[in-house]
């Protein structure tokens, strides 16, 4: 019997945190899907709202405390106590961003531009906005709408759709 293929047609990606290692996977997956002709809905909730917040979306950082996979050059473990020093997070983030720049990995604003240009839809979570006192005008113009969870699910229907929570 021939194996039936069900190709992916749509991905609904939920970005729930505001750290670099959460925001980037969400953006890479979204942009990568669009390049494959897969429809994309991106939903930013909780601290993930930072990634579409005018004030913060250019300043996404990588956390240096409580991150056991973070290592110094030469694979030396990064002590949590070192992470509490002022400027350590900025330094680590700057190092990571410089590496990413060399690898031609887009910045957050560039990714948002590509996703928007490719027809990917970007949404913000209403509940999270209420919780953090974020207003529509605080969010970047590329945000298509502010949705409740029910309204988001309504957009996630259809055969060949997957929801990815990050």
């Amino acid at each position: 019997m021939e194996k039936e293929e069900f190709p992916l047609k749509k991905v609904c990606i939920i970005c729930s945190k505001g750290s670099l290692e959460t925001v980037y996977p969400a953006l890479v997956l979204a942009n990568g899907a669009l390049l494959e002709g897969i429809e994309v809905k991106l939903f930013f909730t909780f601290f993930g709202l930072d990634a579409i917040h005018k004030k913060f979306y250019k300043k996404i950082h990588t956390p240096v405390v409580g991150n056991p996979a973070l290592r110094l050059p030469g694979n030396i473990p990064f002590p949590t106590l070192l992470g509490i020093l002022p400027g350590m997070e900025d330094l680590t983030t700057a190092m990571m961003k410089s590496t990413m720049n060399k690898l031609d990995i887009p910045t957050v604003p560039e990714f948002i531009e590509y996703i928007n240009a490719g027809g990917g839809e970007i949404y913000a979570c209403k509940l999270a906005m209420d919780m953090f006192g974020v207003k529509r005008e605080d969010l970047i113009d590329e945000v298509k709408d502010v949705l409740t969870v029910g309204e988001f699910y309504a957009k996630c229907g259809g055969q060949g759709t997957q929801i990815i929570f990050i």
Partner: protein, 103 residues
């Protein structure tokens, strides 16, 4: 490895129809592959294709970012020129392998 006659020329292609040797490419081949994909090439398409070929033949990695920063085309235009799978389609018409990059 398979061969295919495109625009009167026998070329080596992979199973997805990408040219294996970019040096076998001609502009007539580009027009014919584009036609198969439902695209009628304009000067703008050709500008993008030339940029991609130049980059790939120099051995550089092709990415969305390098295209968007090239000044040749915006990302929005790229999606309009090569609908569906813009980067893959542009590479196929340009006679180069599809990009092995996640970004």
């Amino acid at each position: 490895m398979a061969t295919k006659v495109i625009a009167g020329k026998t070329v080596n292609v992979n199973e997805e129809g990408y040219l294996l040797d970019p040096n076998e490419w001609t502009i007539d081949i580009a027009h014919e592959i584009a036609k198969e994909e439902g695209i009628s090439l304009t000067q703008k398409h050709i500008d993008v294709i030339n940029f991609i070929r130049d980059k790939v033949l120099k051995g550089e990695t092709l990415s969305m970012r390098s295209i968007s920063k090239s000044g040749v085309v915006t990302v929005k235009e790229l999606y309009e020129l090569f609908p569906g799978t813009p980067l893959k389609l542009a590479c196929k018409i340009a006679g180069v392998q599809k990009p092995a990059s996640c970004v």
